[in-house]
């Protein structure tokens, strides 16, 4: 009896082979598609997309800016003329200020919302009666898990891109000024999410518990800011009495700081990019070991576990 799937494609002379790298790509694509479909049935994502659509519509229809030689000559909001100060306002400043506000909101609310809405994707993958069906297919366990994680990041990236690219295009249309740094800031926010999400994947696959997963994701994200304070202001250790306590305290906080994602640095990166200032890639670079390590551990655990 012939198998019309991969088996026959490997064995059958007439069939088109789908194996090796092509098979892995097809399997990852299947998981990404499945994860996207699942996300589209979540109220959080739908509410976000709806809110962004309303925001873009308002921006397109209610804000009118007249730019003359790079300066704001007149502005109307909801059809009403806004009185402008006598000091000239440059279009670049308006756009940059607006974009920094958007990026700040996106970094705080957007990342939290993204972590929340994708927190149960891995635990749901590991549900009995579903995970065993998936694992019984000719797919490697790491492929399945990484496909799921890629799907989550893809959904978040598309959602954030919708807001970033949409508002960037509208502002360019209205002011004639396009700040490429704003687009880069959007990419940095997606990267921030991806780094924190990789930690959530590890916690999700080990605990198979959505609430624990979301708490872990928020912890990885926020603790980066907290431990940055210890790192940036080493004088805090002088409050400890004994010398060994200071040494121990500094060792622990520095170890944790270098292990966790560099959330603070990533936030600064995004803000700088939105302002059109030079951006250092160091926070992203130093966050990568956390992401890669978390995903490697998650794959190791997933591959060894009985289901």
């Amino acid at each position: 009896m012939s198998n019309t799937g991969v088996a026959s494609q490997i064995e059958g002379p007439a069939a088109t082979p789908t194996h090796g790298a092509r098979l892995i790509i097809a399997q990852v694509a299947a998981m990404v598609r499945f994860t996207t479909l699942e996300s589209l049935h979540r109220w959080t994502l739908m509410a976000f997309l709806l809110a962004v659509t309303l925001f873009l519509l308002l921006l397109a229809t209610t804000v009118n800016l007249d730019i003359v030689e790079g300066n704001l000559a007149a502005a109307r909001l909801f059809g009403k003329t806004i009185e402008l100060p006598e000091v000239g306002i440059e279009a670049v400043d308006i756009v940059t200020t607006f974009q920094v506000v958007v990026i700040s909101l996106l970094y705080s609310v957007g990342v939290a919302l993204a972590l929340f809405s994708t927190s149960n994707l891995v635990p749901r993958l590991c549900v009995d009666g579903w995970v065993d069906l998936l694992l019984a297919q000719p797919v490697a366990r790491p492929t399945l898990l990484l496909g799921r994680a890629t799907g989550a990041v893809a959904v978040v990236a598309l959602s954030i891109s919708y807001l970033i690219v949409g508002s960037w295009m509208l502002l360019r249309w209205k002011t004639g000024f396009g700040n490429a740094g704003f687009l880069l800031a959007g990419a940095i926010i997606v990267a921030t999410y991806a780094v924190c999400y990789s930690g959530m994947v590890l916690v999700g696959v080990v605990t198979r518990n959505s609430p624990v997963s979301i708490l872990a994701g928020l912890f990885f994200w926020l603790s980066g800011h907290v431990f940055h304070l210890f790192h940036a202001y080493p004088a805090w250790s002088t409050s400890l009495r004994a010398g060994w306590q200071r040494q121990m305290g500094e060792f622990i906080t520095e170890s944790v700081y270098w292990t966790l994602p560099k959330s603070h640095g990533l936030a600064e990166m995004a803000a700088n990019a939105a302002r059109g200032e030079p951006v250092s890639g160091a926070p992203l670079l130093f966050s990568l070991p956390f992401a890669v390590g978390s995903l490697a551990l998650a794959c190791f655990w997933f591959a060894r576990r009985d289901y």
């Binding site: 009896m1 789908t18 299947a30 009666g129 069906l133 019984a136 297919q137 000719p138 797919v139």
Partner: protein, 320 residues
């Protein structure tokens, strides 16, 4: 060559505090290509664990298992295997067609081939009109049939079915049974894990009974259920004529329930020659024979006896 070869398979689950629970203890089994194999056993006997080991969902702690010539659980072996688990938890938001499409993609089937196979398997399980409906609204029987469609999608050479008739109505069972028969006719090997003995009896030709992680009994169903030296004789002639003809020719004769207008006896004979001699005597005495058939015990009798023997065996080992 056997399609499934299992030798001395052990699986022990370890709890958080080092507590160990042996699920399989030295299981030896062979399933030949084209067979319909039934794995029976009481709850907790290790049936599901054995299937999961064969599919690579659970890691062994000892022994070896091979599927289609490849180590059990390898991607190569899973390529040619279909699996219908006992608990099916399909995401409610997916449509039946989307479920099948996902599994087709994971099996590396090209888009055109997927479309065709999905259409075919939905027809086979009599769910063509439900392809565009969400799984969340399906009844248990429909989910069961969808699971079967998913297992059949890649036209597997070996089909694992964990409790395929569990929780579905008699009509649904007939549908499932007919599909399995068609699969067997096409040459697919069936491995059915069930505690519904009547279902296994109707589909399988080979069975193994698992008890406490060990194979208590295995063999061909017909051999396991046939009772040695016991036959049922149905005749149209009056009882006294039959009894006179067989006087002293058989070891025992006992009257049993007969169809209307006929007479029936259970005969115990020393062997086939004695049975043939008895038939000669009956014919010599002009007894009108309607039928002679070997008496079979039900699979339930065999199952209960095997489990009882296995329990006694375990108790003896513990005592000694």
């Amino acid at each position: 060559m056997s399609i499934i070869e299992i030798e001395g398979l052990d699986k022990t689950y370890y709890g958080m505090f080092g507590k160990s629970v042996p699920a399989l203890r030295g299981v030896d089994l062979q399933v030949e290509r084209g067979q319909a194999f039934g794995l029976l056993g009481p709850n907790g006997a290790g049936k599901t664990t054995l299937v999961k080991v064969l599919l690579g969902l659970v890691k062994t702690t000892g022994g070896s298992a091979r599927l289609l010539g490849s180590p059990a659980g390898s991607a190569t072996s899973r390529l040619r295997v279909g699996y219908m688990p006992e608990n099916r938890h399909y995401p409610a938001f997916l449509k039946a067609r989307q479920v099948l499409d996902l599994f087709g993609q994971l099996n590396g089937m090209p888009a055109a081939q997927r479309r065709e196979r999905i259409r075919t398997v939905l027809e086979e399980v009599e769910m063509s009109e439900w392809g565009e409906h969400k799984v969340g609204g399906f009844s248990k029987g429909m989910r069961q049939r969808l699971a079967l469609a998913q297992a059949l999608l890649s036209e597997p050479e070996l089909l694992f079915l964990d409790e395929p008739a569990e929780g579905i109505d008699p009509l649904g069972r007939v549908v499932v049974r007919n599909i399995l028969r068609r699969c067997q006719e096409k040459g697919t090997t069936l491995f059915i894990n069930s505690h519904l003995l009547t279902e296994v009896e109707m589909v399988c030709d080979q069975v193994a009974i698992l008890h406490a992680g060990r194979v208590a009994e295995s063999g061909r169903l017909t051999e396991m259920t046939s009772k040695e030296r016991e036959y049922r004789l149905i005749a149209a002639s009056p009882p006294e004529q039959v009894l006179a003809a067989l006087d002293g020719a058989v070891e025992s004769i006992e009257s049993v329930t007969a169809p209307a207008g006929l007479y029936a006896w259970k005969l115990t004979v020393g062997g086939r020659p004695q049975l043939n001699a008895a038939v000669d005597l009956l014919r010599g005495a002009d007894v009108e024979i309607e039928a002679i058939e070997a008496v079979r015990s039900s699979l339930e009798d065999v199952f209960l006896k095997a489990v009882e023997d296995a329990k006694e065996g375990s108790a003896r080992v513990e005592r000694s």
